[in-house]
């Protein structure tokens, strides 16, 4: 088994601020993902990465940067936080590349922008 850790658990920011969220996995999975969930909605893909230093845009990449520093970690940066924004950011990982594999999710980071 393995685990996905997301830090911080709660993030409060100011309008215009640059904010960074971190994700670590010890599954030794190749592919990692960042999703955003708005209240009462499904998840939407922001970025994913199939290997270290790789980056692929999802449907919601505008306003975000991401970095896959090493196989086990994937960070997401909100480049300029929007006032009154509230969302949960969920990190996931899956074992392989070049195909579809089961994804496992972390517990999420809850963002509130004042």
């Amino acid at each position: 088994g393995g685990i996905i850790t997301q830090t911080p658990k709660f993030l409060i920011g100011q309008e215009g601020q640059k904010l960074t969220l971190k994700c670590q996995q010890n599954f030794n999975h190749d592919t990692m993902y960042w999703y955003r969930q708005d209240s009462g909605k499904g998840l939407r893909l922001i970025y994913y990465s199939i290997t270290e230093n790789d980056l692929q845009k999802g449907d919601l990449s505008e306003g975000y940067d991401a970095s896959r520093e090493k196989k086990s970690s994937f960070s997401l940066t909100v480049t300029s936080a929007q006032k009154n924004e509230m969302a949960v950011f969920l990190c996931a990982s899956s074992i392989g590349t070049g195909g579809s594999y089961e994804q496992y999710f972390g517990p999420g980071t809850r963002l509130t922008v004042l």
Partner: protein, 109 residues
Amino acid sequence: GDKVKQSPSALSLQEGTNSALRCNFSIAATTVQWFLQNPRGSLINLFYLVPGTKENGRLKSAFDSKESYSTLHIRDAQLEDSGTYFCAAEGNYAQGLTFGLGTRVSVFP
């Protein structure tokens, strides 16, 4: 939510009864995952499906890629089955999951 449509959007079940949730896909899905999101927000993996069926305890799921739909059956509903159920689909390559909007299930005594 348009590419993956879940129905119903909400469901109220008496303990001990059975029910079915459905997802229809307008994308070329090759695999489907079903999750339960608990009140704390954690996503619990229920099923990972290629075309076919799987069963786990009181839950059973099916995925028909030709007809582009998947179902999740809950048998003998229990209070701990309450939460929001999401289906999500992926195509041939690891490009991320496309999620439905979820079905909120409430089980009452």
